[in-house]
Point group: C2
Chain length 206, copies 2
Amino acid sequence: MTPRPVLEFWFDFGSNYSYLAAMRIDRLAARAGVQVAWKPFLLGPVFRALGWPSSPSVVQREKGRYVWRDMEREAARLGLPFRRPSQFPRAALLAHRVAVAADGQPWLPEFCQALFLRNFAADQDIEDMEAVSEVLSAVGQHSGVWIERAQQEDVKLRLRRQTEEAQARGIFGAPTFFVADEMFWGNDRLEQALAWATGEAGRPER
Amino acid sequence: MTPRPVLEFWFDFGSNYSYLAAMRIDRLAARAGVQVAWKPFLLGPVFRALGWPSSPSVVQREKGRYVWRDMEREAARLGLPFRRPSQFPRAALLAHRVAVAADGQPWLPEFCQALFLRNFAADQDIEDMEAVSEVLSAVGQHSGVWIERAQQEDVKLRLRRQTEEAQARGIFGAPTFFVADEMFWGNDRLEQALAWATGEAGRPER
């Protein structure tokens, strides 16, 4: 049996276009016969290393104004609920650590989607422990177990390393997809990244 | 007869994603029954007013590296020739003035496409008078007439005003499309902008 091609999905729970990708990726990847590797990382340190104090949607007022209108339209087009978050970008350190700790767990995609919905459809906090607990319970997990696990040193270190890897690989925003070393930036490139993974995309010479 | 809906296409000859849009827009718009208004403007002053000394692909090294790879892939996917320009972004003040002077001329789209191809497929200068003359001749126009026309004060002023209008309407990059006041940024949004123009896009409430 040929192993299924892998699409890495690098995301941050605070990133609005990551939300649109997170809600679609499993269905589209299953249809294409592609396996998804969920790669949570912290966009904040990546932005700061690039010299941006916050998200480009916050730093650049004109772009920010546009982005929220674009989000309304894109969510409607994709059939996804959306409410502009009253806080942006929302921090979610503990949730990222839970996602790292739950690497490979079958419920990880559902946990991530529930987290994103809380931020971008319900406009609720995703940072404090209660928020993360609620989402863990909602997807049928023992919240105490996973929150304890998420706060162990090895998990904290893995999230830091994953964020450093994001930087080292040239990531400058989220979502970013990788098929081996081929990088695709933005929810708009999800379909092309999948086509690349299955070899259906025309591959220009390097 | 109902008038055809209008899609404004705001572009700069130095902008790489404007190239991809310029090569596709007439065919897609004709199919959708939409009229295209070609709106040349100068991206340089818009970027500087936003506090960026040049294109974000130049200012942000990581993004720049990605963008050229993305251009190779997108051009291949869309069946368009592409060679990474050895100079970027290329200035093209005279060409922009010609495009303003030729507003409404039936050969304007062909002129613009030939200019873009010169920059992004042939990797040739588009700034000096000889370059612009060649392109005018290639599309069957009397280059002397149009170059003289392009340098008259009213044309210079119209290009300045169009650039000011771009800023006033919140444009922060190119290509940008407008359907009345609805703004769409990037070649990736051309299809959605056309769907909006024809009323086929779901329109979220404002």
